[in-house]
């Protein structure tokens, strides 16, 4: 059984390179210490519902959830739908991090209640800036209800 420490940020991202770059950008701002990375929506749901691999986890709620939209098995919008339907989770800020700039994804995400929608830039500097700004805003600047 895995021991689970305190978690501030849940990152669901199927691309290891995107995940590494995201974590790196957050780490630069000192935000990645209590971050857990899951590889798809199913694992994200397991984490949030304390099932499967995460059945031994405490019921502590993360402060920020970063969701990639296009993931295998269960996609980001489905995880978002679950979060918004859960009484305790719905107050957690959710940021959609995605490669897709398609209108339908943006509209769908905001309709479901996402707090931000970030199209991951190809340019590394832009990428760093976008991710760290989101992390800073939701972790430090925004006054959460929790």
């Amino acid at each position: 059984m895995v021991e689970f420490k305190h978690v501030d940020i849940l990152l669901a991202e199927d691309s290891p390179s995107d995940a590494e770059m995201t974590i790196r950008a957050l780490r630069k701002r000192g935000l990645a210490n209590n971050l857990i990375w899951v590889k798809d929506g199913r694992e994200a749901l397991d984490f949030l519902q304390q099932t499967g691999e995460f059945s031994n986890r405490s019921s502590e709620i993360p402060k920020l959830i970063l969701l990639d939209i296009k993931m295998p098995r269960v996609d980001g919008t489905e995880v978002l739908r679950y979060i918004m339907s859960d009484e305790k989770l719905c107050a957690v800020p959710v940021v959609m991090l995605t490669s897709s700039a398609e209108d339908r994804d943006i509209i769908e995400s905001y309709k479901l209640g996402a707090n931000s929608y970030i199209v991951k830039p190809v340019d590394p500097e832009d990428f760093d800036r976008a991710v760290s700004e989101v992390g800073l805003y939701w972790m430090l600047v925004n006054k959460s209800s929790i």
Binding site: S15, S17, D18, M21, R24, K70, T98, S99, S100, A101, E102, K120, P121, V122, D123, P124, E125, F127
Partner: protein
């Protein structure tokens, strides 16, 4: 005969057939009706002849009766004979005038009647005189003598008989002539009815054949049309499917192509950040090349997506103040701020009817091109103008930049087609392709004029609001 005429005649043929059939039926009905009339007439004539002959018989009978009575009275002096004489005498003039009326239409018979009348008068005079001789003489001899010799009056009776026979013969002959004519007419009418009916049957039969063929042809054509429609529907479905596939494809490009690209750029960046001190200047340059090219590929993907989007997005048309749109676009263009040396003139522009976002994209692309390609001119100059005619509004963007060779005009609006090297002028070659696509989707057209090193003018025309 051209095909339209041929089909006209083909369509008219059954109508002609039916018309001809009805004309035939009308002719048959009319001739039957006329013939029945003739037969009726003939019956009338037969009665008439019969009556003429009867009346003639009567006249002969009456005159003979009067004659017999006269002789009887001359012999016996008995008044009974006188009574029968008187009655015959009274009836005779009536008979004569009836006869005259009956044969009034026939001059020969009318003449015979007047001769008959003459004879009758003679005989009557003879009879009258005989009777008066008997009545005054009281003896039979003088009266009988007179009656027998009677100044030639006796021959009048014979001549009258001959006359009546002649008249009766003539009537019979007339009757025979009429009969012959009616027999001939009947034969003609019969032939007409037989052949006419056969003809009408033939015409109607042929018309039905033609109509039948027409109906079959039409059914075949209908079937062919239905099949063609089905094929078209299938084709449309396939196209829709292809469009959906394309949408999915571009979505995949936008998502899946960016991930590895981001990784290439990102990891090159990590490398240059984390291993800065271990890399020599050439190593750093190489990482820089990787970064630059990743960036370019990112832009290419974005433009490709924009191009795909410009074809897929539904148009929502409104009236647009093009002047304001051009001013707004200019304000948003980064080149506009940086190159203050460029002189931009925007003339009064007519209103357009179209999709706001897409037309803005058109101005964006045309104006940024104008800035880009005139940037190396001594005094860069851009002029935007527009006119409206009966059918469309035409807008023009003119610059005094490098222009282009009209020889390569057909490549101008192609996707990823460039007439200049990237080193000379950066870009992906999608801008004008997007412009063309958007304008064509509005039902408009685009064209351009250019001369090398003397500038270019790009035009687009949008149809007027109906």
């Amino acid at each position: 005969m051209n095909p339209r005429n041929r089909s006209f005649w083909k369509e008219m043929l059954p109508i002609f057939g039916i018309g001809l059939g009805f004309i035939g039926i009308s002719i048959l009905a009319f001739s039957s009706y006329t013939h029945i009339g003739e037969i009726q007439d003939h019956t009338g004539w037969a009665n008439h002849s019969h009556q003429v002959r009867f009346e003639l018989e009567q006249t002969i009978f009456l005159i003979s009766a009067a004659h017999a009575a006269t002789r009887g009275y001359a012999i016996a002096g008995n008044d009974e004979f006188l009574a029968s004489y008187e009655s015959a005498r009274r009836e005779l003039p009536e008979k004569i005038s009836e006869l005259a009326l009956l044969v009034a239409d026939n001059p020969a018979q009318t003449q015979s009647i007047s001769m008959l009348k003459l004879d009758v008068d003679h005989i009557m005079a003879l009879q009258e005189h005989t009777i008066s001789l008997r009545r005054n003489g009281n003896t039979a001899v003088p009266a009988l003598t007179y009656f027998a010799e009677g100044n030639g009056q006796v021959s009048a009776l014979d001549s009258m008989r001959v006359l009546v026979t002649q008249m009766q013969d003539l009537e019979a002959e007339l009757m025979a002539q009429r009969e012959q004519r009616i027999t001939l007419d009947t034969r003609h009418t019969k032939s007409l009815l037989i052949f006419g009916t056969a003809g009408v049957y033939l015409v109607f039969g042929m018309t039905f054949l033609i109509l039948g063929r027409e109906v079959r042809q039409r059914k075949t054509a209908d079937r062919a049309l239905i099949e063609a429609n089905d094929a078209l529907q299938l084709h449309t479905d396939q196209l829709e499917q292809a469009n959906k596939d394309l949408e999915g494809f571009s979505y995949s490009i936008s998502h899946d192509l960016r991930i590895p690209l981001r990784a290439v750029a990102g990891y090159a960046n990590i490398l240059s950040e984390d291993y800065e001190e271990k890399l020599d200047s050439n190593g750093k340059r190489l990482l820089g090349v990787i970064g630059e090219n990743s960036k370019r590929m990112g832009i290419l993907i974005d433009e490709l997506l924009a191009f795909s989007k410009s074809g897929r997005q539904a148009l929502s048309r409104t009236d647009i103040d093009m002047h304001a749109m051009v001013e707004n676009t200019l304000a948003e263009l980064p080149q506009h701020e940086s190159s203050s040396s460029t002189q931009v003139v925007v003339e009064e522009l007519p209103q357009a009817y179209g999709d706001h976002a897409l037309l803005k994209q058109v101005w964006m692309n045309l104006l940024s091109n104008a800035f880009k390609y005139s940037s190396k001119a001594k005094a860069p100059n851009i002029r935007v103008s527009g006119t409206r005619n009966d059918d469309e509004v035409i807008y023009a963007v003119r610059d005094n930049g490098v222009g282009f060779d009209m020889q390569y005009y057909n490549k101008l609006f192609g996707v990823f087609q460039r007439l200049h090297s990237i080193e000379e002028f950066p870009g992906t070659g999608v801008g004008l392709a997007i412009v063309q696509r958007i304008v064509i989707r509005h039902g408009g057209r685009v064209w351009a004029e250019g001369t090398i090193n003397q500038g270019a003018t790009f035009y687009f025309a949008l149809p007027n609001r109906e």
